[in-house]
Symmetry: C3
Subunit: 132 residues, 3 copies
């Protein structure tokens, strides 16, 4: 079963920590041991797993991507959001996580983020949890 | 069951829209609700999910990756295609997609691409569709 | 069942070829045809699939990422390892591979790497293999 999570972003670039929402979906699924897939149905946002203890890490990732994919280059796509498309592909549209003991098996510092690159917008994240 | 899709690329760098081919594999699988994994068995090409309505987006992604990973740096690998290997790892070797109602659950603008970085070549993409 | 692989890295940046260890986990699982997921529970290391025949390729990927995400920029996160976090997100925390005939279905040149960006450290890689 596909669980759809609604998210409202508030800046152009923003890493939204969705770990609690994904954990909720895992709990609701009743799956004890399995796989959880988190999917972003957008093309100017992505999903990434990284540290969520210190929010400065996500800010540094956003800044690092800005340097690697500068806003002020010339792009062909007329909407002006090509850097957001590029960053979305760099982060990827999905994450695959493990479920053990009825909850997400994450590393100590890991959280799951929706990486917004063309906000503010209403976004969705889709989650599917399956038993092994 | 693994479905192998044959692709012939025609440029050094080229984003080949394989959405229709993946949809075909999903239809043939008979899976109603499940997961579709798209895998690239090559090391100088990758898989990415991004906008396929305007082909300028894929061209901008290709150009953005060229700027982030310049061709004219010095590399150790003797074949001269190290930038292609780097870009393949940046895009990733696989994509995980959801299947609902017997077809791919994609976002409005999303398509699936084989990202060729060392063409022209004959390539394969492997697709596996499983019921939840 | 989750198989945990222990790895000791010996440099700050190092691509550790874990293909043999993953193949071992696949063999031990007894799965004939299925999916293998490789997961990195760390936030300054990632998983990537790329050429493992010539070790110069992994060295070039490491160097290319160093150029795209320079060490000597200013970062907010106080630990000084922000470039490692950024590169971890660029590589991704997991890889999805196919299992056919009781073994990994990899392309001719493909291997699986733990990409260490903040070593040397003790790391783990988690592997889960499921029947289709």
């Amino acid at each position: 079963m596909l669980k759809k999570i609604d998210i409202k972003t508030s800046s152009r670039v923003e890493f939204v920590d969705i770990t609690a929402r994904v954990l909720e979906a895992v709990g609701a699924s009743g799956v004890a041991s399995g796989t959880c897939r988190v999917y972003c149905p957008h093309t100017t946002a992505g999903i990434t797993v990284n540290e969520h203890a210190d929010p400065a890490v996500a800010a540094d990732i956003a800044a690092g991507l800005d340097r690697a994919v500068p806003q002020n280059e010339s792009y062909r796509h007329a909407e002006g959001n090509s850097p957001a498309h590029i960053k979305a592909s760099l982060m990827g549209a999905s994450a695959t996580l493990f479920v053990e003991g009825g909850t997400l098996a994450l590393g100590t510092w890991q959280g799951v983020f929706l990486a917004e690159f063309d906000g503010p917008r209403r976004r969705q994240v889709w989650v599917k949890v399956t038993e092994d």
